[in-house]
Amino acid sequence: MISVRKLTKEFKIPVKPPGMKGAIRHLIRGEYKVKVAVESVDFSIEQGEAVAYIGPNGAGKSTTIKMLTGILKPTSGEILVNGIDPQRHRIQNAKNIGVVFGQRTQLWWDIPVEESFALLKNIYEVPDAVYNENLKLFNEIFGLSEFIGRSARKLSLGQRMRADLAAALLHNPSTVFLDEPTIGLDIGTKEAMRELIQRINREKGVTIILTSHDLKDVEDICRRIIVIDGGRIICDKEISQLTKEYAMDRGLQITLLDMQKELPARLLGQEGISYAAMEDAHTLEIHFKPEMYTAFEIVEEVNKYARIQDFRLREPSIERMIEKIYRSGEQSA
């Protein structure tokens, strides 16, 4: 169980005007700019939940994860992970958590992966039975035995990430933090990573906190989404709830040969049309309530104002829901 209250992290960024003069001035005056990376964030996560923590680049996801894992001290606010303040009792907290930072590795670079694993087994004092059982599971899903004897340096990115995820799970943590674990991976590896994460969540009741830009990860693994943007939480909902609110709308993407400038505004003015905007100079994106229009009626309506070259139905997807959440966040901000 994780609870976060009024969590804020500010970074002091040195202001260094360009050139030698600037550098000296900075040395003397020591000017800093304050960057608020996470601002008054609140949420709580029950044991066994699988939560996606998503947002655009620079939103504050990694900063939040770093605070939850105890390696970064919050500027203010309160965090409890399984009843423990992770920064103050970092070592105690570390026993119960597993962490993957997709952009880093925790494996030793020049020695066989199995040696890194053996080291972790000692550190966490994992009993032999648990260790062997876990290795069996990782083998089954990841084919770990094929490359466990090689050094991390000699692994492909996909193999390395599998090994890294396995390393984070060796000690049966109750809570797992995954910061962009699938970044840069091929489809096959992504699938395998998702399968393992799903299984430990469903079968062992492990809490998952996942950040990713791949919404397929989110769809497959998570049941709840927290969206952060500009350091603030702009949405925190069950995915099923979101689907009800957002995905009821149908979407069409229409390619236009020519058009009138005020077309999107005119369409938006009509009841039953929830969204209309130009994606680029020739592509109109339009969302509508299926109980009020058929797709054909929408095309007809647009055809009154513009010549249509092509159109296609857009499936309701998490991706589009998130897009809308971002847009509504921008409007209210």
Partner: protein, 267 residues
């Protein structure tokens, strides 16, 4: 205690394996050591051509001094600091900090692994040179050898503490190289690694005497060379142990303070 060692000894083992796997670096450092020692030996040969005793050291003692310093330097060089400053500056320290381990103990066991490999090869080198270049017979009595062995171990621990403490400075600057370099220069001068402290003016020796550095190099050499014996030698061991405890504790406190300031770039 056994449980503690069982949990941390893997860091020693992995570091050793890594060091051995990376053969090129390993050979380069062995060759560099050798060259460094030979340069010193030739320098002293020139100086001893004119005089038979310099500042109380004869040729034999001076070469042994040089060899012991080389052994200590090879055993624990830049590696602790380099690892630490790199981890702090590029954020790779993050994965160590998410483990249920005491960071300082982890660093120590890593340094130990490094030192067993580097120190092991340096020891072979140094013993070979000592046998060919010097007359060891006056120094080979079991009591002083035992005292020296203990002193070497304490010196190793103290050297680790000093390097670790220095490396932690990187929490407060983005110029890791500068910090490491500065620490190295200070240590070389005050520890007696550059020259025996007897070569320096009295005020400098007094200053060096109240600093921890001399206990990491100079004092063990004095035990080996029999310049300090009996009760004096035991006092030196006690002083070394005291410095180890003081620096270990200070480093721990410093880390606890510094880790709150860490920003962990990237990710």
């Amino acid at each position: 205690m056994r449980r503690f060692i069982r949990r941390y000894i893997g860091f020693t083992r992995c570091t050793m394996e890594e060091r051995i796997a990376y053969r090129k670096g390993f050979l380069v450092s062995a060759v560099l050591n050798m060259v460094g020692i030979l340069v010193s030996v030739f320098l002293w040969r020139v100086l001893f051509a004119q005089e038979s005793v310099i500042q109380g050291y004869d040729w034999n003692q001076m070469i042994l001094y040089v060899l012991i310093v080389a052994l200590l330097n090879a055993t624990l060089g830049f590696d602790t600091e380099r690892k630490l400053s790199k981890g702090i500056l590029d954020g790779s320290i993050a994965s160590d900090l998410t483990k249920p381990i005491d960071f300082q103990s982890m660093s120590f066991f890593q340094a130990l692994g490094h030192s067993l490999v580097e120190g092991g090869t340096a020891l072979i080198l140094v013993v070979l040179l000592a046998v060919t270049l010097t007359d060891l017979s006056p120094y080979l009595n079991p009591v002083s050898m035992a005292l020296f062995a203990v002193s070497l171990m304490l010196a190793f621990m103290l050297k680790f503490c000093l390097a670790y403490f220095g490396g932690l400075m990187c929490f407060f600057t983005s110029n890791g190289f500068g910090v490491v370099y500065l620490r190295q220069v200070i240590t070389d001068v005050f520890s007696g690694a550059m020259l025996p402290l007897a070569f320096f003016p009295a005020w400098f020796q007094r200053l060096a005497g109240v600093l921890p550095f001399q206990a990491s190099v100079y004092l063990p050499t004095q035990i080996f060379l029999g310049r300090i014996e009996g009760r004096g030698a035991v006092r030196i061991l006690a002083l070394q142990a005291l410095w180890v405890v003081v620096m270990w504790t200070l480093s721990g406190l410093f880390f606890r303070f510094a880790v709150k300031k860490i920003t962990i770039q990237g990710g």
